[in-house]
Symmetry: C2
Subunit: 254 residues, 2 copies
């Protein structure tokens, strides 16, 4: 018995973001687990079984993949973006910690991918060019007051903010609340980047001042980047603007 579990990042929705390491790993496995739309991005190969599941079923998916690997199979669990950022890597570790001893004996590898904030940033310049935070706006796994506390702490200390999971059908008000909250800390002119479906044919990336930013600009496929007081927008004749946060700052208190 020499089962192996690989937790693989596909990057955003364009195969040109898939690393060779991820591609080789996926080509070599017996079974693939993941959220259906992510699995659909992996080319079908003879002899590989495919086990799609729903978005909200991370725990059950992790257990099924670990059980399969513990039978001696070579198994991959896929995530969009990077598996270590609000995705399957932590879900797998949670199950390994609390599961049977055999799961701790498994060969488990994690294969990184381009996470959404890097892809969105690349489409508009360098908004993450200075210190930044990645924060999930989902309050499924943490209380909303903690999200608010983190928004305040990050914005007041001058971190750029990358907001993951800004909105979903079950969480319609969180992004609007976050924008209102950030307006207390940051000037209305602070650039906010909405990046939707980056790497897909329906990709949309835009920049709006915080004072005019609307939660309705985001959906489940959107990553939002909120700049700092120092984030700049460069207008370019005949081209889309560039947004960047300078590397240098002299700011000590904000």
């Amino acid at each position: 018995m020499s089962g192996r579990l690989a937790v693989v990042g596909l990057g955003p929705g364009d195969p040109r973001y898939l690393t060779p390491e991820a591609g080789e790993t996926l080509a070599g496995v017996d079974a693939l687990y993941g959220y259906g739309p992510y699995l659909d991005r992996v080319p079908a190969r003879a002899g590989q079984s495919r086990h799609p599941s729903d978005n909200r079923e991370e725990g059950a998916r992790a257990i099924a993949a670990l059980r399969h690997a513990a039978l001696g199979a070579n198994v991959a669990v896929v995530s969009g973006g990077d598996p270590g950022v609000f995705a399957m890597a932590a879900a797998i570790c949670e199950q390994i910690e609390t599961g049977p001893d055999a799961w701790r004996a498994l060969d488990v590898v994690f294969v990184p991918g381009i996470t959404a904030m890097l892809a969105v940033a690349s489409k508009i310049g360098a908004p993450l060019g200075h210190d930044f935070c990645a924060l999930s706006l989902s309050d499924n796994l943490k209380p909303w007051p903690l999200v608010e506390r983190r928004l305040d702490a990050a914005a007041s200390a001058g971190f750029v903010l990358a907001l993951y999971n800004p909105v979903s059908r079950a969480r319609p008000w969180q992004l609007g609340n976050a924008i209102e909250r950030l307006r207390r800390q940051l000037p209305d002119t602070t650039p906010v980047v909405f990046g939707r479906a980056v790497g897909r044919t329906d990709e949309q990336v835009s920049v709006t001042p915080l004072g005019q930013a609307a939660a309705t600009s985001a959906d489940m496929a959107t990553l939002v980047i909120v700049g700092t007081r120092e984030t700049r927008v460069i207008a370019r004749p005949g081209r889309s603007p560039l947004v960047y946060t300078p590397r240098a700052t002299a700011e000590v208190s904000v």
Copy 2:
């Protein structure tokens, strides 16, 4: 005249991290600019000129590459990791904003890469599995009191911390100071991951409790990840430990 400038992320030091998009972009340019050791990772091609420069010369390198592209050439500037994270993308934007009008008319693209914190995290589990911050410990471009303020803000609000540029010959004391500072906010048992030269043959990744973490464990090629109160270490018989930060937390104040 239709010059083009691509700012390209190579990922960590293993070609298996280089995305197809980055590889194709590098193969198609007339000229390559970058820090010497990064340029050395790009295969030589006939007809391409190579312009290595020193680590500290980001501004001059950006200007040289923009001038070259403005002559009508297809130019790439390379960064290790991701160019948008403490690297060349912001340096290029800074020069575009303050430079001649012609630079704002250029076709400029940014090609993301696997940044160091994702690669280091992947080698040990999922330490970035919850909200996290990326913070450069270099005080070349910001005052040290601001770094301290951000360390306090991030740790006290329960963010995992990824520390870039922890130490260099010219900055020997900053990491030690940061570790001392974090000990005031976090328990001595908090897991600290030192990831050195990930993707290279001399790769080393280890975990140490904050109370025993020593700045001497890091050098210029190291990325340090400091967990939260909730970050876990899973001991595994016959295997290296896994480190992860659970997706869920009930913590509101810390």
